[in-house]
């Protein structure tokens, strides 16, 4: 008996000797920041991560909201504030505030956009700091470092458009918070719009000089940096530089406009088109479905989306001059079968299809961020402003030739009562509709946004007020001047609370 007890004690002693615990444990699906670049594919993975953040729905406020991803908010906050898209339903979703301009500092879409933008910036800063001392200067490494500079500029620049006054209106107005490194103080004031633009330009120039081995349109490239520089200078109204960088892209010979025929299927297949300079790749596993796809608010096959926002009457009227325009291909009329159009709460249903159709899926597309047509239009706008009307109209004609309007060219003649800038901006609206440009194009050119058409952006509208044979009148907010403080959004409340140096917008 005694021996047995001793044996038992021995066994128990062994048990807890074995269990003596290891207190160093590491996560199995994450890598420590310090060792990020210690693996051969580390730099590649973290660079890819910044692109992933443009499409991923990541945790915010403690959970992953299916409708919160960078691009969805980017397009909605841009184009729902324009006159290209009409709202057919009153909603609690904060996307509604872009229509009504009743912004608030705690609207979830804007808070997320701000957050995810700076997360990309933080990631690029981490990479740029870790690679400062690297001795690796092979082309592949330089390409990836250049991509990080590009992404840092891209993120800052898109923040500027939503949260700071356009450069052309006031370059000395508060811009955004420039995040240049991960070690700077968490509290930081906003830099001026001008300083922000200079920072973005500096990053893009570095990016262009470093990048040389393009990884495909799904990634930033030298041409993408030039293309974005062209846009940045356009917004700054630096016509010479706008033209120069547009020329660099056009002259590189690597891109060509989609023909009228090809354009009909351009957006579902943008990754393989020579027109695309940079897009964000969505694979089938990135399909956000009804709750999160960009398409779901503006298109539905009956189940695929909510389908609550449509192409506006204003845009359609402009397009109505030319039914042969292949750009009609991206507007899908929901017919009631009797020659009429189905209405939703009194608004006619003209679905928008620029974000649908990849692989045949109604919710899938790889959104185009930079394409060649914009380069022609940037150049045309700069030329128009510089007084080079002929050059401007020629670029416009080149676009129209490739959009089924070869019989409706300007051929160097301005229509009566129009300026070259009018012509260019009209073409820009038609060509780049729903791609995030319109609202800013109006305001940065100090023009008035005219939303005198039926839609739930009109305060207090009820369905029975709608008479499609008339133009609405007497409603607030139909004409929005560039001086309206609500052409930009409030800085999100989280930033204001946690960063006392950050000043709120008016």
């Amino acid at each position: 008996m005694k021996n047995k007890i001793i044996a038992l004690i021995f066994v128990i002693g062994t048990l807890f000797a074995v269990s003596s615990c290891e207190l160093d444990v590491a996560p199995t699906d994450a890598i420590s920041t310090a060792s990020l670049l210690n693996t051969s594919d580390g730099l590649l993975n973290v660079t890819n991560g910044s692109y992933a953040l443009l499409k991923d729905n990541i945790s915010f406020g403690g959970f992953v909201d299916q409708n919160n991803n960078y691009l969805r908010q980017y397009f909605q906050m841009s184009d729902f504030a324009s006159d290209d898209i009409v709202c057919a339903q009153v909603t609690e979703d904060p996307l509604f505030y872009s229509f009504t301009l009743t912004h608030s500092p705690d609207q979830a879409n804007s808070r997320f956009f701000w957050y995810i933008s700076y997360k990309i910036i933080s990631s690029t800063n981490t990479v740029l700091e870790l690679t400062t001392n690297t001795t690796n200067d092979d082309a592949a490494t330089k390409q990836l470092v250049g991509e990080n500079y590009f992404l840092r500029a891209f993120s800052h620049f898109n923040l500027l458009r939503f949260y700071a006054k356009p450069y052309s209106i006031d370059p000395n107005a508060p811009g955004i918070i420039l995040r240049e490194s991960t070690s700077e103080s968490a509290s930081k004031a906003r830099s001026s719009v001008k300083d922000c633009y200079n920072f973005v330009i500096s990053d893009l120039k570095k990016a262009a000089s470093l990048m040389g081995t393009s990884r495909g349109p799904q990634y930033a490239s030298k041409a993408a940096a030039w293309a974005l520089l062209s846009r940045v200078y356009l917004y700054m109204e630096d016509n010479t530089s706008t033209v120069a960088y547009a020329d660099s892209v056009i002259g590189s010979g690597n891109y060509q406009l989609a023909t009228a025929d090809a354009f009909k299927s351009y957006f579902p297949n943008a990754a393989t088109s020579p027109e695309t300079i940079f897009l964000v790749a969505f694979t089938t596993s990135d399909n956000k479905g009804k709750f999160g796809s960009i398409a779901s608010m503006i298109y539905s096959d009956g189940n695929s989306g909510w389908g609550e926002e449509f192409a506006s009457q204003s845009l359609r009227n402009l397009m109505a001059e030319h039914t042969e325009d292949v750009r009609w291909n991206y507007i899908d009329t929901l017919s009631d079968g009797n020659g009429g159009v189905v209405t939703k709460n009194g608004i006619e249903t003209f679905y928008i299809k620029k974000f649908s159709g990849q692989g045949g899926d109604p919710n899938l597309s790889s959104p185009v961020m930079l394409r060649l047509a914009e380069m022609y239009l940037n150049r045309a706008e700069a030329n128009a402003k510089a007084g080079n009307d002929k050059a401007a109209l020629d670029d416009v004609d080149l676009i129209r030739t490739n959009r089924g309007l070869e019989n409706a060219l300007y051929s160097g003649e301005l229509p009566a009562g129009s300026t070259a800038l009018d012509v260019v901006l009209k073409e820009r609206r038609l060509e780049l509709a729903f791609e995030g440009h319109r609202a800013l194009d109006v305001y940065r050119n100090k023009r008035i946004m005219n939303r005198s058409y039926w839609g739930y952006h009109l305060p207090g509208l009820v369905a029975t007020d709608i008479d499609l044979t008339k133009t609405p009148s007497g409603y607030d907010k139909m004409l929005i001047d560039y001086t309206n403080p609500r052409i930009i959004y409030y800085i999100p409340v989280d930033e204001i609370l946690a960063n006392p140096l950050c000043k709120q917008n008016d």
């Binding site: 207190l23 890598i31 590649l44 890819n48 995040r179 694979t283 539905s300 009956g302």
Partner: protein
């Protein structure tokens, strides 16, 4: 419990041995009967010994005994597991009938404290004990619901009524901010573990550091000690219990509008702001008159009464060498929400084998399996918000398929939740196995060794399926997601214990090592493109996703405790624990947790002996407990690798590093008085002051650094409180007894050392942590009603000078101008319960009430249901009396003009409501068959009872039950009520048979 009982019995035997055996004496027989004091039923199997000898006997099936004594000075010792020991001097008596008091009622009883057991009189800490008697009234499947209103200072929140859900338990307020956990559960002396409520013998709540200090870093939320049943009697005892009843959803004040109510309400949408007139022609054009009579009650359709069943069968017995308890429970509850439910089966086998007087082993096994069907949040959301003008069924009673092309469907999102529920499945299964091996060795009379070990294994599987037939995003494709989780772990606790008494001085204590580790693995597979009628991953044809990761955590500890008492009147206890954990950076891994407690049992002093004071005790304790439970790796800066870009690996920023992260520690001071008088009144009062330092907080970062927050040790929270328990037997006659219990717990908290205020925001609702502030304090724009002139919503706008002093208060109708201000906290000022127990002959009527006062609840779902016309295709909640809509200048209305209500439903104090309540928690009427009648039927006992639970809640809160979560998970703010599974009102008949 077991160890405790044995220890006391051994002590008795030891004491007996010390006594000298008196000289020879003619032996005489003493006879008698032993009964249970509470019900006068005979107790079989009671050990009767002559003190100081090994002579003795055991009572028979009727509780009778006969023993030969040698002298009038002999002491008879009556002992029985679960009951207090009694000693009677024989004297001249030849018949001694005696009743034993079950420990749960016994003031001298043994209290299981986790690593050790103590006599109640020995304890110097704030400890509450609930026996199975006090717990058995409730028929819910988990122990938390049983505790509500029964223990002072314990807050129980049933925030969710979904089948299988557990209530939240908080002891003495919230000590940890970002990761406040409920109490640590200790089952049969080993940290963690699983059990079925039917298997519980006693439940002990340890509330102050004098008791919880022994659990060190795991004990910030208090400790609940569960002791499961053991074999008690030589004769096998069998028990069968069956509870069957039904439950209905308790929607509280949440009543949605009927078809005609909504029809009337929607006329407001057609009011012209300027003229004030309703354009009735347009209204009839847009809302045909026939809608007025369409009245489908969605809530009644989606929520139906559900059946609840709980069956329990147990057997137990013991011999000199061996004792066992076998218990099996089957629990089945239907959810009140369509197609939800939960089933659980639990088997427990507890055995003890004594190799000798010195060596014994316990083998305890608990196996639990469960399965259930959960629900999709959106289905519940639409159950409330779908319009009564829509009927989900076609003429044949089949659920209608509705999608975006449907033109006859009025509700906003063109979806029929009845159809979705019928074409989807969200089920889960789980299994949990615990095996305990406990080895006890008595080395000498005063020294013993125990090794307690547990291995645990659990697995869970969830299955989410949407048929391709369902409308919505998966239409034509279907969706399947299967997730498997597996966890396993072990814990070993090895203690040397001593117990030594010399003269009036008693010493006891323990010291040892504890190691624990756990490992967790998860695996997920997802796909779409399912053929109709199939629902396994194998048949998915597109959009595959996989996921999975492993986690582990480890901890090692040194444990010690020392107890001293003098004359069982003056008590001193000290404990010291050292924990080392994997949760913190290497430099901060080790922490020390001392505690000390002292008490004076005044009623043992000569001057109180023989007085009406049965017990009077003063207690004082001080100690430190800690918290480390924030998950592994939180101190590391990390990039996540769980995404991809363009089908290539991608790393994204996950968390900021926090290289100095360390333990959160609570310094607890407690003073208490226990008093019982006249054998009728018992009063416990405790005062405490708990200061938690180095709070582990997710400190909000400016979003512009790219992270929302990071873990840091910031500031302190002080919880001060008062707890009172008063139990009285008000009336006691032979046939009738009425007793009442009152519990009251008051807790105040204050933050300090935070520095610049920290805001936490979830869903746009903010709470603030600031110096001198309260926990869970909502910061919201203050709603100031409706402008009588314009009908626009009003909020308060503050202007402040450079020092932050308010220089001007004004009202604004521009939401963006409104100033967020501190309003109210989500935590109650005080809470407690009342229990009334009436007993007449074999009938008893027990009533339990619970109350909570001073907590505020943010009614988030009301934003949707009471929306000022912003969502014309959602149904509305019926208004509280006195509500009105502004229609013309001069109206003093509660609701703004629909035509002038911009942002009126944005977050503001408009939706923050007083969540105080008084709840009829439980009423049980019970009849117990007289023992002789039961025996004539061949039974040891038969009882039948009817129970109503959660019968009614008195509250001004205008929504579902005001019990909402106080647990700040990352996705939920404490005190915020969204659409959630409603609580249950439950009526159950229980039959208990003992044989």
């Amino acid at each position: 419990m077991k160890t405790g009982i044995r220890k006391v019995r051994m002590l008795g035997i030891l004491l007996g041995l010390l006594c000298l055996v008196s000289s020879t004496f003619a032996q005489t027989a003493v006879k008698g009967r032993v009964t249970d004091e509470s019900n006068n039923q005979s107790l079989p199997g009671v050990t009767v010994t002559i003190k100081g000898t090994t002579l003795g006997t055991v009572t028979d099936a009727d509780g009778n005994y006969s023993v030969n004594v040698r002298s009038a000075n002999d002491l008879l010792v009556f002992s029985f597991i679960g009951y207090g020991i009694k000693e009677i001097k024989v004297g001249t008596q030849s018949r001694i009938d005696i009743s034993l008091v079950s420990e749960s009622q016994n003031i001298e009883g043994i209290v299981v404290m986790g690593y050790s057991s103590k006599k109640r009189t020995e304890i110097s800490s704030a400890v509450s004990v609930l026996s199975s008697d006090k717990l058995k009234g409730t028929t819910t499947g988990n122990v938390a619901n049983m505790l509500q209103g029964k223990v002072a200072g314990v807050q129980v929140v049933s925030a969710n009524g979904s089948p299988g859900s557990e209530a939240e338990i908080r002891i003495r307020g919230i000590a940890s901010l970002s990761a406040p956990k409920g109490p640590l559960v200790v089952v049969d002396g080993i940290v963690g573990g699983n059990y079925d409520p039917n298997d519980i013998e006693t439940l002990t709540v340890l509330k102050d550091a004098g008791a919880t200090g022994m659990y060190g870093s795991q004990a910030n939320g208090g400790v609940i000690i569960i002791t499961t049943k053991k074999g008690k009697t030589d004769k096998p005892q069998f028990e069968f219990k069956s509870s069957v009843g039904y439950r209905i959803a308790d929607q509280g004040h949440l009543k949605m509008m009927s078809g005609s109510q909504l029809y009337d309400a929607q006329k407001e949408l057609y009011r012209d702001y300027n003229s004030g007139k309703i354009d009735i022609l347009k209204f009839y054009n847009e809302r045909p008159l026939e809608l007025d009579s369409r009245n489908f009650n969605w809530v009644d359709e989606m929520f139906k009464p559900g059946l609840v069943q709980n069956y329990y069968l147990s057997a137990r017995s013991r011999t000199d060498k061996f004792s066992y308890y076998l218990g099996a429970t089957y629990f089945n509850e239907d959810g009140t929400f369509k197609n939800t439910g939960y089933q659980k089966a639990n088997v427990r086998a507890n055995t003890t084998y004594k190799f000798s007087d010195r060596v014994s082993i316990d083998n305890n096994i608990n196996i639990s399996v469960n399965k259930g069907t959960s629900y999709d949040y959106m289905d519940m959301y639409y159950s409330y918000l779908s319009l009564p003008w829509d009927n989900p069924y076609d003429a044949n009673g089949k659920p209608l398929y509705i999608d975006g092309t449907s033109t006859t469907w009025w509700s906003r999102d063109k979806i029929n939740p009845v159809h979705t529920v019928a074409n989807s499945d969200h089920n889960y299964k789980g299994m949990d196995i615990n095996y305990d091996f406990i080895f006890n060795l008595k080395i000498t009379d005063w020294l013993s060794f125990s090794s307690s070990n547990r291995a645990s294994l659990n697995s869970a599987r969830t299955h989410d399926f949407v048929s391709p037939l369902a409308a919505g995003t998966y239409h034509g494709k279907g969706y399947i997601n299967e997730t498997n989780n597996m966890g396993y772990g072990g814990i070993t606790t090895n203690l040397l214990k001593f117990n030594y008494t010399v003269n009036n001085h008693s010493f006891s204590g323990l010291a040892g090592y504890e190691g624990q580790g756990s490992y967790y693995e998860t695996l997920m597979a997802e796909g779409k493109g399912l053929p109709e009628g199939f629902s396994v991953p194998n048949v998915a044809s597109s959009e595959y996703k996989i996921g999975g990761l492993n986690n582990r955590s480890n901890m090692e500890s040194f444990i010690s405790q020392f107890n001293y008492n003098y004359r069982e009147t003056y008590f001193l206890t000290g404990s010291y624990r050292i924990d080392a954990t994997s949760a913190f950076p290497p430099a901060n891994r080790i922490a020390h947790f001392p505690s000390v407690a002292a008490s004076w049992l005044a009623s043992n002093e000569q001057f109180l002996k023989g007085s009406k004071v049965d017990m009077l005790k003063f207690r004082l304790s001080y100690g430190i407990t800690g918290m480390q439970d924030i998950g592994a790796y939180q101190y590391l800066g990390l990039f996540s690798l769980n995404t991809q870009y363009n089908s290539a690996a991608a790393a994204t920023p996950l968390q900021l590093p926090s290289p100095n992260l360390t333990w959160e520690k609570t310094h607890q001071l407690n003073f208490g008085i226990d008093l019982s008088l006249f054998k009728r009144v018992s009063l416990n009062i405790d005062l405490y002051n708990n200061v938690t330092k180095d709070l582990l907080i997710l400190v909000a970062q400016p979003l512009s650094v790219g992270f929302e927050n990071k873990w840091d040790n910031v500031g302190e929270v002080t919880n001060k409180g008062l707890e009172i328990t008063l139990s009285t037997i008000n009336i006691k006659t032979t046939d009738f007894e009425w007793s009442t219990d009152f519990t009251y717990g008051m807790n105040n908290n204050k933050l300090s050392g935070i520095g610049s205020p920290i805001y936490r925001t979830v869903n746009g609702i903010a709470q603030i942590y600031r110096d001198n502030g309260e926990l869970y304090m909502f910061v919201l724009p203050v709603w100031k009603g409706v402008d009588p002139q314009t009908g626009a919503p009003l909020w308060e706008k503050l202007e402040k000078d450079a020092n932050g002093n308010i220089t001007n208060r004004s009202l604004t109708s521009d939401y963006a101008q409104a100033t967020p201000q501190e309003v109210h906290s989500a935590l109650p000022k005080f809470q407690g319960g009342i229990a009334s127990n009436l007993k007449y002959k074999n009938f008893s009527l027990n009533m339990n009430f619970a109350y909570t006062v001073g907590n505020y609840v943010y009614n988030f779902s009301q934003r949707m249901m009471d929306n000022d016309g912003h969502e014309p295709y959602y149904n509305l909640i019926q208004w509280q009396e006195g509500s009105s809509r502004w229609t013309q200048p001069g109206d003093n209305a509660t609701h703004p003009s629909i035509q002038n209500s911009a942002l009126s439903t944005e977050n503001s104090s408009r939706y923050l409501q007083d969540g105080s309540f008084f709840k009829i928690r439980n009423i049980t009427l019970r009849y117990e068959l007289p023992l002789n009648v039961a025996k004539s039927l061949g039974l040891q006992g038969l009882a039948i009872s009817a129970t109503g639970e959660n019968i009614y809640t008195f509250t001004n809160y205008w929504g579902q039950d005001p019990e909402v979560t106080i647990n700040p998970t990352s996705w939920q703010m404490p005190g915020v009520s969204d659409f959630r599974y409603p609580g249950n009102r439950q009526y159950v008949i229980t039959v208990e048979v003992k044989f």
